[in-house]
Symmetry: C2
Subunit: 432 residues, 2 copies
């Protein structure tokens, strides 16, 4: 068992997402010893994953090495590790590289794709929660077009050129919009041998409108933008089957497609070893208003994983970066208070608003007292995303990419780095 000698309390943070990052940063000058564990050595800026998948950005622009962020933070340690189990009774975490003891444990593992138990859909459709998954999707899109060139059967050719995005939340809307731009400005020029009347992009949403958590005005405008770009928007439709050939929704309707992108839901990324009692709907963990997991004294949960009821948010907070960031910051202060035997402060989410981009000059922004759409919304979206992107070089390179894309209509990052294997639905393992 690892046993780093120190007089300071040991805080283990599992996960280097928005929440874990803020928490560790905010504890910089505090009398604690931090150990962050993540299975990747980098932080992923998830809001821009769809741009990696659709060839606008290279993967390194939205990945930031965690060690670099904390290079000058003496009380910070990091390990690339797969957490297998936590043992709250004996206060240690089991990983693939050994066990680590803690005084305080923070679960910041975020969420993972929810296929709602549908095994066939899970096998055949493309999730987009990690950079490797986004790169797989990029490969699949491009390979479908390469395959379409060689396909004689017109039905199969059409299926290769048809994409179905399931789930009309921000990720689904942004992906469908980016696919439409990819079609209109890139694919149509890259594949002059193909007839692009056959290329269809569907966005299927279960509730009565896309961007359901947004204002009605935003939903309406987003749908309008999408339709003008050629996306077929289907609302109040539940996808119940996909066997790699045919999507079935509302039990009877079907679409033949070789490309299904699944952004229909997430669930908490749970770790073994915790009591089942605090686990609520959607695999989230119930905490009190200090992010302390119910039934525990030194185990906390923040961000997407945490389910916290407050007067303003009686059914829990939305699974967005801002909640994770604010909970991470608040928990840093509360941990210090708890260590100093002071009273912690209850979390109060400050909702800065929501935004989604649909395409060039097309975005929707819902602020508390102001809602707007179109060009200004699009500029706002870009500004905010650049602001939150970690690292000066990433900001600069992303900005340049966007400027070049804006003027050239082009997307340079359409390389198939690793071939995606449709049989195994994973990438080919041997790199050449």
């Amino acid at each position: 068992m690892e046993n780093q000698k120190t007089q300071f309390p040991k805080v283990i943070i599992i996960g280097g997402g928005f929440g874990g990052l803020q928490l560790a940063k905010k504890l910089k000058n505090s009398a604690v010893e931090i150990l962050m564990l993540d299975r990747h050595n980098y932080h992923t800026f998830q809001p821009l994953l769809y741009q990696v998948a659709t060839g606008s950005l290279d993967s390194d622009s939205i990945a930031f090495p965690l060690r670099k962020i904390f290079q000058n933070q003496k009380n910070f340690n990091f390990r690339v590790a797969e957490v297998k189990r936590i043992n709250p009774d004996e206060q240690y975490v089991m990983t693939d590289i050994g066990n680590f003891e803690y005084d305080y444990l923070v679960l910041a593992t975020g969420s993972e794709t929810n296929f709602f138990g549908q095994k066939a859909i899970e096998h055949f459709s493309m999730p987009m929660k990690t950079i490797p998954e986004a790169l797989n999707l990029r490969s699949l899109i491009l390979q479908n077009f390469e395959d379409a060139l060689n396909e004689k059967n017109p039905e199969k050719k059409k299926a290769l050129m048809t994409f179905v995005v399931v789930g009309g939340g921000p990720t689904g809307v942004e992906t469908a919009g980016a696919l439409a731009e990819l079609k209109n400005h890139v694919l149509i020029r890259d594949y002059p041998e193909l007839d692009f009347h056959f290329m269809k992009i569907y966005l299927i949403e279960g509730t009565e409108r896309v961007l359901e958590p947004f204002s009605k005005q935003a939903s309406k405008k987003a749908k309008e933008f999408l339709q003008n770009m050629g996306v077929i928007v289907i609302e109040k439709a539940l996808v119940t089957q996909y066997d790699g050939e045919k999507v079935i929704y509302n039990n009877t309707e079907s679409i033949f497609t070789k490309g299904v992108i699944w952004s229909a839901g997430v669930k908490g990324a749970l770790i073994e070893g915790l009591d089942k009692a605090p686990i609520v709907r959607g695999g989230r963990i119930k905490t009190n208003n200090y992010n302390l997991v119910e039934g525990y004294e030194n185990v906390f949960a923040i961000g997407d994983l945490a389910y916290m009821e407050t007067p303003d948010w009686p059914h829990g907070h939305p699974g967005v970066a801002q909640v994770a960031i604010q909970q991470g910051q608040q928990l840093a202060n509360n941990l210090i208070r708890i260590i100093n035997q002071e009273v912690p402060k209850a979390f109060d989410y400050f909702d800065k608003g929501s935004m989604a981009t649909i395409g060039r000059n097309k975005a929707v922004v819902d602020l508390r007292f102001l809602k707007f759409q179109g060009f200004i919304a699009w500029l706002t979206w870009m500004f905010i995303h650049l602001l939150f992107l970690v690292g000066f070089k990433n900001k600069l390179i992303t900005l340049i990419n966007w400027i070049v894309t804006y003027f050239s209509h082009d997307r340079g990052s359409r390389v198939i780095l690793h071939k995606f294997n449709r049989q195994t639905m994973t990438e080919d393992s041997i790199a050449k």
Copy 2:
């Protein structure tokens, strides 16, 4: 069998490297129908692969989508295909996506890593001829340091921190230099828990000096630069064994290491189906001075793959980009002459010189009448490489990367995208 109907002669180019690219571009307005086949959908700017491996550049910066280059070239077709065999008698190429007929065939497959038949070395060491290979090397370097943190045995810890570059040509020299900079400016800050006295970088060269094809002055200065940066340069040494633990050179000397980079040689990337007669030493194909393969009337070879004796180059040309580029351009003109039943012109290589960079402000340049080293050489190296890098955005982003790196001493792209599996010596197949 694919049979595209056209009145123009069909030219198949196998390979989208420097030679194939120039040939196809130069044939833009000619009365031929071009089909390029490549197993990747992008052109790789190989001279900068070592910067991807050592975290200075992201992979997309040196990969350029082939379809994009030829978007406006009507007589150009492209397929992502693995060529299985050529059939010169019946004039077609067999691939994994079908057969393609040709009137003229150009082999532009370049070269591949030569392990000189040493199976153990091939299995355990890291080549660096493709982007996936460069990314694997990047993952290996970073994983070695992550593993070193968890390693208790001091000998094993040292082996994880020891890197041996085999082969002191430009690639080996540049990689060893980049590793030294990675150590001094990045790793030492990223891994404060490790003792960097243990980190050793060896460069082992078989001939009596590194950069053997360069001037003695360049070799001497390059060695000096490397040694000042902490690289242990061993000349006149032949590596004969590596079993994943221990490199053996000169039959008796050994180095314990978990990181061997193999840049000791290349051989022609041959395709099945050609007569054995024209194949010469190093797997190259003997051509006449018009790049026509000996014994054939309509099969050509250019670039690294071609072996052509001329008065100035009685033992063939060097395997560098400039030869491939110039042969590609020349063959385009000659093909048109041949089609028009005119007399082709003999190839005459214009040697523009050689250059290699060792590190920040440190490069060597050999021009015909001028040899210089140091800062000006380094600026020249950067300018020339930017000039030849394909695509405006790639140039711009690479330039910015270099500027940021110059001022910050940092390398941002140190993310482990796909874990490298030391057992199988391939990357893990399941992306998460």
